[in-house]
């Protein structure tokens, strides 16, 4: 066989000669079908969203028995802006009382960094973004009787992600599933 580059040229030429070209009308029909399908999907999604948003009304006088309302799922961090090595207080709700709540941080690859003063002194051009995704366990605590929890945690000194996600995971009431809540915090190192 000759030079691979020449062979590739021949391959392309012969491929062009062998190409079978469907009529443009066929392409148009397919494009039209696709547009209709897309429009139908959008319509279904809009109807579903509207149905979910609108309150349901009942014509009969039957009063439904009160259903058990799940505890509100909230996760707050105080202060929301901190520094590497800073102390934060994490509060939340919606967990099964008496069960362990795990707390941690995670971030994506490419997340912006907030290098510390020491890092800036050590490296002339510290990296601006995290090379890989990562996570760090912070602490655990136990959910109180109402399903709420509060824990103090220290941001690890070597975590310099500018906006990591703080997550809390615990068993949810009335289900075997784990409930994971998350909130963004800001780490602004001076």
């Amino acid at each position: 066989m000759s030079d691979p580059r020449d062979s590739l040229h021949r391959l392309v030429e012969e491929g062009a000669l062998a190409a079978r070209q469907p009529p443009l009308a066929s392409l148009r029909r397919r494009a039209q079908r696709r547009r209709r399908a897309r429009a139908a999907t959008i319509a279904v999604v809009l109807v579903a969203a509207a149905a979910a948003a609108l309150p349901l009304t009942r014509d009969d006088h039957h009063q439904p028995t009160p259903t058990t309302t799940a505890a509100p799922r909230t996760l707050t961090v105080d202060p929301a802006k901190t520094v590497s090595g800073g102390l934060i207080t994490i509060s939340g709700a919606g967990c099964t009382p008496g069960r362990t709540v795990s707390l941690g941080l995670r971030w994506d690859g490419g997340a912006p960094l907030s290098p510390t003063m020491a890092q800036r002194k050590e490296q002339l051009n510290p990296p601006a973004t995290a090379p890989t995704a990562g996570s760090r366990d912070l602490t655990t605590t136990t959910a109180l009787a109402a399903g709420t929890f509060t824990a103090k945690a220290t941001i690890p000194a070597d975590v310099t992600i500018r906006t990591p996600t703080l997550w809390a995971r615990c068993p949810a009431p009335d289900t075997t599933n784990l409930l994971t809540q998350s909130v963004l915090i800001q780490i602004n190192n001076p």
Binding site: R10, L24, L27
Partner: protein, 176 residues
């Protein structure tokens, strides 16, 4: 809505564009897919997408670049290719006869399929279409160093298989 801008005024342009560019693009994508049928599928898919965006694409200096880039992306993506192939089989009822190729080209297509798909795209743009590395990198959203690496690896694979196949065909002089 974007596709509604594609009025009758633009259609003759698209007709001409489709007629002239389709076979050429199928030939080029043949070097990426290693199969004329798959090349036809990805090129048709790219043309369908361009049809709904034609009002915008026709304003480009070279609309063909857009279609080729979409077709290359489709060809490189295995998942999409499998889904598209299944759709094409359903549409055509698996009745499409194989493309008529010379034995040499069929052999070469077999060799091309041994090169990873993302490296074949670099081969097409640089070795077949003679684009400089910088343009290849820009069209594929890659760094120039990545393009250079893929090109070297693709050429090596191709050269190795060409040499192996030549050896298997019979005694030939070796340039050591």
């Amino acid at each position: 809505m974007e596709h509604q801008h594609t009025g009758d005024r633009e259609q003759p342009d698209f007709d001409e564009f489709y007629r002239s560019a389709c076979p050429r693009l199928v030939g080029q994508l043949f070097s990426v897919t290693g199969s004329v049928e798959q090349a036809e599928d990805v090129v048709q898919e790219a043309f369908i997408r361009s049809l709904s965006r034609w009002a915008r694409i026709q304003a480009y200096d070279v609309p063909e670049l857009w279609v080729r880039r979409v077709a290359i992306n489709l060809a490189v993506s295995d998942l999409r290719r499998l889904r598209r192939r299944a759709t094409a089989l359903l549409r055509l009822g698996a009745q499409r006869p194989p493309a008529a190729l010379s034995p040499e080209t069929a052999d070469l297509a077999e060799l091309v399929r041994r090169v990873p798909a993302n490296q074949r795209a670099v081969l097409l743009l640089h070795d077949v279409l003679d684009l400089p590395l910088e343009q290849v990198a820009a069209q594929l959203n890659l760094r120039v160093s990545t393009v250079r690496g893929r090109l070297a690896r693709a050429r090596a694979i191709l050269a190795r298989h060409v040499a192996t196949d030549t050896d298997a065909e019979g005694p030939v002089s070796r340039h050591v």
